[in-house]
């Protein structure tokens, strides 16, 4: 006898530019997260005693966001001592993995109310600064064919024949869609502005959107991965893809996800909790899926993950009203669209990480919230969120409005 896992609420911070010049650089990651926890409690008025666990994704869990930031944030937010917290790292999927794990906890019947989400201050804790054997241990690095994600993205573009113009075009649209989404207040329900200690506002909107993005400005940007490719990573790629003569390095800072700061949290629970606190179930989590794919090209996981989730749910791609495919790199989304034969008008209708940034640990939870908000606006039933993941993984989650 399993209980359904319902989403009651989804909140997120605006995303700041993940640099010292970004608005959220001055904000401690613990504050990004604890402010969200407070808001979530105030909006839903549950007793924090009832929260079984807080599951938070964080991809570089050291320094300011090190140790177990989920539990620490609960303490800072003033939640009851009996709330537990766990921080997990599934690279870029961490935020969505938190949601999926929360859903599994609820569906197991052993827990009833779980907060899931993620946090990342990339301006304070640079990506990769946590080391790890994959990149830093020479033996592991060599034997597993380690490559930076961007080379994989360029390899996808090369194999699929996506030109620089195509990926730039996709990027420009991401900005235009995000700008329009803000104009029509598409994110209004979930955005929690970041405030200072005097309750003065620090950031209220996603910071990196360029409504005037154009092909001309995008075309001026230099390829990001040409140099590392030439230093040796292209050769690593060609060991696995020997029919490729040379990799077309099409990705630039303009058509790749932005480095960003931000946090997200969803309130997920059982029917029992819905009744206890008079919470309105907005959607149920239908299925979740994980896959592993070739770690060298690394970013081809979304399609097989989506297929796996669809199969579990007994659905077809055509049943899905809206897709959120994380815009790690333009080629990742273009390939997903091509491989799954999906109408581009159903994907990332409010833009994505190319326009708004990709705070690694939080993005998965953010895009699931965006998906839910937009399903409601468009009165669609099913939505699917998916991300490509470091190490060659893929993740997907299907939700259904209830």
């Amino acid at each position: 006898m399993t209980s359904e896992a319902f989403i009651f609420d989804a909140v997120r911070t605006p995303r700041g530019r993940g640099k010292a010049s970004g608005s959220l650089y001055e904000v401690k990651p613990i504050n990004l997260l604890s402010q969200l926890l407070k808001a979530l409690q105030q909006r839903n008025e549950f007793d924090t005693h009832s929260v079984d666990d807080i599951v938070m994704g964080c991809v570089t869990p050291i320094g300011d966001q090190g140790a177990d930031i989920a539990k620490t944030a609960a303490l800072v937010a003033g939640w009851e001592d009996d709330v537990a917290g766990v921080t997990l790292n599934r690279f870029c999927a961490s935020g969505l993995e938190s949601v999926n794990m929360a859903a599994m906890k609820i569906r197991s019947g052993w827990e009833h109310l779980v907060v899931a989400g993620g946090v990342e201050s990339m301006s304070r804790v640079p990506m990769g600064s946590d080391g790890g054997a994959w990149a830093m241990d020479p033996e592991t690095n060599i034997n597993t064919g380690f490559m930076p994600q961007g080379i994989g993205a360029d390899l996808i573009a090369t194999l699929e024949g996506f030109s620089r113009e195509e990926v730039d075009h996709f990027a420009m649209n991401s900005h235009h869609k995000a700008a329009k989404a803000w104009q029509r207040k598409a994110f209004a329900r979930s955005i929690i502005p970041v405030k200072d200690r005097n309750n003065l506002s620090i950031l209220e909107q996603d910071e990196t959107i360029r409504g005037d993005s154009s092909m001309a400005t995008l075309a001026n940007l230099k390829p990001s991965f040409l140099q590392p490719g030439q230093l040796g990573f292209d050769a690593v790629a060609k060991q696995k893809y020997p029919w490729v003569e040379r990799i077309n390095h099409v990705h630039t800072p303009g058509n790749s996800s932005g480095i960003a700061d931000g946090a997200a949290a969803l309130l997920i629970g059982s029917e029992q909790m819905a009744k206890r606190y008079d919470l309105n179930p907005r959607a149920r989590i239908v299925s979740t899926a994980l896959v592993g794919t070739d770690p060298t090209i690394m970013l081809t996981g979304p399609a097989p993950a989506a297929r796996k989730a669809l199969k579990l749910a007994g659905l077809n791609a055509a049943d899905i009203g809206l897709f959120e495919v994380n815009e790690a790199f333009a080629s990742v989304v273009l390939r997903f669209q091509k491989e799954m034969k999906i109408d581009p008008d159903k994907i990332n209708v409010n833009g994505g990480a190319i326009a708004m940034g990709h705070p690694l640990g939080a993005t998965g939870a953010m895009i699931l919230g965006t998906l839910l908000d937009e399903l409601e606006v468009r009165n669609k039933r099913f939505g699917l969120a998916t991300l490509c993941v470091g190490g060659g993984m893929g993740i997907a989650t299907i939700i259904e409005r209830v």
Binding site: G128, A135, M136, P138, E139, L231, G232, V236
Partner: protein, 709 residues
Amino acid sequence: MPVIQYQKDQKDIVHLILDRPDNSANLMDGRFAEDFAKVIATLHNDKYAGVILRSEKSTFFSGGDLTMLSQVSEENASEVFHMLEKIKVSMRTLETCGKPVVACINGAAMGGGWELALACHHRIALNHRALKMGLPEVTLGLLPGGGGVTRMVRLLGLEGALPYLTEGKQFHPEAGLKAGLIHNLAQSQEQMFSMAQDWILAQSNVCQPWDEKGYKIPGGAPSHAKVAQKLAILPVMLRAKTKGVLPAPEAIVSAMVEGAQVDFDTATRIESRYFVELACGQVAKNMINTFWFQLNQIKAGSSRPNNIAKHKVEKVAVLGAGMMGAGIAYTCAINGIPVVLKDTDSKRAEHGKDYSRKLLDKQLRSGRKTTEQIEQILSLITASGDVADLADCDLVIEAVFEDRVLKARVTKEAEAVLAESALFASNTSTLPITGLAKASSRPSNFAGLHFFSPVDKMPLVEIICGQQTSDESLARCFDFVQQIGKTPIVVNDSRGFFTSRVFEKFVGEGMAMLGEGIPAASIENAAYLAGFPVGPLAVTDEVSLTLIDKIKRQNIADFNAEGKDYAGHPSDKVVDRMLELERSGKVAQAGFYDYPSTGGKHLWTGLSQFANSDLQIPLEDIKERLLFIMAIETVRCLQEQVLTSTVDANIGSIFGIGYPPWTGGCIQFINQYGIASFISRAQVFCDTYGERFAPPQLLIDKAQLGENL
């Protein structure tokens, strides 16, 4: 007699004297481990002021016993590991004894020799430029397992130690002093000992830098942010060089980084484990076989007639100042041999000399040579258009176009002014020497000296004996090749000799695969991943399809002349088609590759006309077809007595035509593959891809005898 003698002088300084009784050099092996442990134990029970480690040989210490190391296997891995650990315990005891220990480096300290010196607190070397030190293990597929990795990283940091460890970079005393590897230079043995004595007597309580309190690895430990950034890309840059077929550099970097994260004793144990793994592996065995034992055999003259006195060339003439001639003249001059570079007129000859000017100018700018040195070298080259200038040359190297008539004419012209005893050599790459010698009035003085392009970089010269070439001429050729610092191999006369013949098979197979429909990029990448320096299609563009076609036509003509039919090769149709499309190669700016003025060459998109999308061929097959076809042709050369030694075959294939070094050469590739396995794989290729893969009789005979080649 122990390999280390223990003596104490009047100043209470203990001399550990490296002097292996039954050998001309000091070696690191089981016996050394035993004797070293004994002297360390003696030291422990003795009272002394310090230690001087010195050698009684002309060299300081030669390193590991490679005969022993080439026999390491899973069965004796544990024994070798413990022997190594035992030596390292002795080294560690010496450097932590608290008393000053000085290495007096009187001669070459390579490998284990340098490692021994590193375990001393103070290193003094005789200031001779010819005195070489370093850790060449990587060039033999090994790593410096006697503490070399651990101590070099702690002395120079990860980045600083990298070239010495992963490239085997050697250094002379002055360079060592600059790099902080040597502490002091001495002008004489006596001065070195008195410096050592003075240093010892001035010390109290000595320890190594890495044993000092608060020691930090220079440049930072792997956890240091700046180092960490580089660490993610370092293995990849390395792999771009090793192509995944050379395990040693990869193991070295692993041992460096892993060792830098733990204490000294653990680091050196990690190093030993990597060492034993490499020593057990096949690649180290291939490389030790060829680059140590076989190369030494060649250096010692194994292919040279041994009853003829060593001969030194006094003056060389080079006929033809084209690319090859110019390169040969340069090579002679930098080796101190006067050379006349002759062409049809002095202007052309001067143009050939410009090549030397250009190369030397580069060395001037990089500080490797001085203006005086350059002037001196250039003064050795006489550019001439006059055949009379050849008169006093004792060796003529003919490097004119590959045209029999032209070659005959210049041979006659030269011989008219040369002394009776002068040696005449043709730098032909394909034309049989016996035929060319017909133009000579002294065919016994006539031989082939086949240089490789670019001459200044390529280490090999293929000496070709014509039917009438005398033993004395062969010996003189051999001595000359060594005189100019290159490695000679000796082959008998035949069309294409050995190297050109086997090289043709490489490019032919590449084009055959293209013709079958295998994507061009897969062929080129497979060659690269097999360890070849360049893909068959790229190198075909370099030599030009016109030349390949010319050779094919000549082959057909020669077959017909012998009354045989030319069987054809699957690459023929590719060559024909490319020439039809006017894509003859690099010179034409259009071949298998396009050569745009910017952005570098890339495969011509038009090659898709050869593609066969239904074709599924494993990458491993592409790699092995290239490796096999060359090995099989080499066996045929042995079978036909074109080659008389597997040593020359192995060295020639690697030094001359780019056969991958990890294999140990064309023949070692077969031996390490296992002759029986090689035959059965060749048979599969024969059935699948064509008769040319049929295993030659010699191979089948050897397999039946259970012998290696």
